[in-house]
Symmetry: C2
Subunit: 327 residues, 2 copies
């Protein structure tokens, strides 16, 4: 269904279109973590998150006749923008189905990226029905449970191998912010056979993947909202992503929302990057859960930066004022 | 005194030690500017500003015996951290002379980077006297009026040439945030003979370089403080940097402090990078002064990101709340 060679093919497909995002570090972060911390700044990707990788790969790989009919996605967030931007760049019509109560700015951004936005009422409408009503001929691009999307996200893992080859002398954990597991699974597969081991990181209360890796079956969250880490609140691991993660990932880590905000403030202060709460959980684990990590080096993927200024100010208010709140 | 080959030598010296910072862009910024905008995200450099380039080049080029005696710098800001970090990385002792009223966090950061910090009273002491008292044998690394420092900063220009060669089809302006002219002069020299033209950008009330380029002699500012753009408030262009800028730069641009804050908010929203006010004036000029720029593409250097969270929140409060304040 999804294989390692597909990630290599995806890498060839995205080359020149997707940014090779930089690895950043800071002696101040190393001191907090007690080991070297490398941060893959994927928040600097086009559309502000890794979702552009999978979007580009899935859209651009469609056969010409299928592609001409357009693509469809459901999303209120990063996946919407990733697919919309990839569709525009490849000249493909796109419809994004968004809940009517999504933030006005996200709706405006998705429209500005050239997609047609169709709104639906979360309370009274089933979004699959909405999609069929909208356009039966368009190809649905799923947010994570799609081999082409997983392969696209996995290209980040290939970049990591290249970027860390002179840095990591031995085994190292690669901490990945994890929702449905598209990125985590893709990266884990890409790292197969190397010294690097992908491990999912989730926010407290939404640790479905960590629990699933322990129990060996797909556990679900009791809630699907109510966290600032909105980008990674999938109900549970995907049908396709879970077996991949089970075969290739190390155990999961879980951080608090406060730790995610603190990591955001440190990324602001020490790395000069903007990270959203759901994109900061991996860095939070690297910094504040040192006993759960092995090795002299840890790699954290900062998966996205699409955060409202109000939430960003919350992080700065709590942890960025004087520096004194920092460990 | 300073020549183009020295920049090539600097590039060889810094290779592998200084980050090749990424070029970022966003369709939203292009729309505001009415042309393609490329941002050189130098705020992602080690120590959060371009100063690490010149610091590394100047320190590492010292002959062994001289170098062993250590280096000395005066600075309350980015130059302090750039020299301290470069000295530590090359195993050279460093003393940084800082005003006693510099922000506690900047003093702490400079110490944490391994430098000995000597404080002096701005009101009663002359810092040159302080330096002689401190250590006569150490080599003084000047913030901008030093050929090796200028050559180090100029390496950013060589990177630009490489990074934009497939993007700019014709002439393009390179807007550079300008204080004493070390970076602007170095970049201008590096771009000599290419389609790219370096132009200094300064904040209103501190436009000494713009006026000097018009009058043909070194004009000075009437004030040296009282702007949020603290990183670029030199009293006037340097003895060495001015002739270089006069020979190789296009005319200067001047932006308001409000425009700089607005550019910071847009960099937060659209590029996911943290830029300080003095590091945002070039982007502000690219976005809000389109009539003063030629060509289909403009390149803005985001020179640094060392901003207190209080000032950053100010930018978000004024321009990052709802997106509605954006043009």
């Amino acid at each position: 269904m999804i294989s390692r060679p597909m990630i290599g093919e995806a890498a060839a497909r995205i080359k020149g279109h997707v940014r090779v995002t930089p690895m950043l570090d800071s002696p101040f972060l190393d001191e907090i973590a007690g080991r070297r911390v490398l941060v893959k700044a994927e928040c600097l990707q086009h559309t502000g998150s890794f979702k552009f990788r999978g979007g580009w790969n899935a859209v651009s790989a469609l056969p010409g006749a299928v592609r001409a009919k357009g693509v469809l996605a459901f999303s209120s967030g990063n996946h919407a923008q990733g697919v919309a931007a990839a569709a525009r760049a490849t000249g493909v019509p796109a419809i994004i189905v968004m809940p009517a109560d999504a933030p006005a700015l996200k709706i405006a951004n998705t429209k500005a990226l050239g997609a047609k936005v169709v709104l639906y009422d979360r309370a009274t409408e089933n979004r699959e029905d909405v999609a069929r009503r909208v356009n039966e001929d368009m190809t649905l691009i799923r947010p994570f449970d799609d081999p082409m999307v997983i392969a696209g996200q996995g290209t980040l893992g290939l970049e990591l191998l290249e970027q860390t080859k002179d840095v990591c002398g031995g085994p190292a954990d690669v901490l990945v912010c994890c929702g449905g597991g598209g990125l985590t699974g893709g990266v884990a597969l890409a790292l197969e056979g190397s010294d690097l081991c992908a491990r999912p990181v989730e926010p407290e209360g939404f640790d479905d993947v960590a629990r699933s890796l322990i129990s060996g079956r797909r556990e679900v969250n009791t809630r699907t909202h109510g966290s600032l880490c909105d980008a990674i609140l999938a109900p549970g691991p995907g049908k396709i992503t879970f077996p991949v993660m089970r075969a290739h990932c190390g155990s999961g880590l879980v951080v608090t929302e406060a730790e995610a905000l603190r990591a955001m403030a440190l990324a602001f202060n020490r790395l000069k990057i903007v990270v959203e709460p759901g994109g900061a959980v991996a860095l939070a684990a690297a910094l504040f859960h040192p006993d759960e990590i092995q090795g002299d080096v840890v790699i954290a993927v900062a998966t996205g930066g699409n955060v409202d200024s109000a939430v960003f100010r919350l992080a700065l208010d709590q942890f960025g004022g004087t520096g004194q709140a920092f460990p």
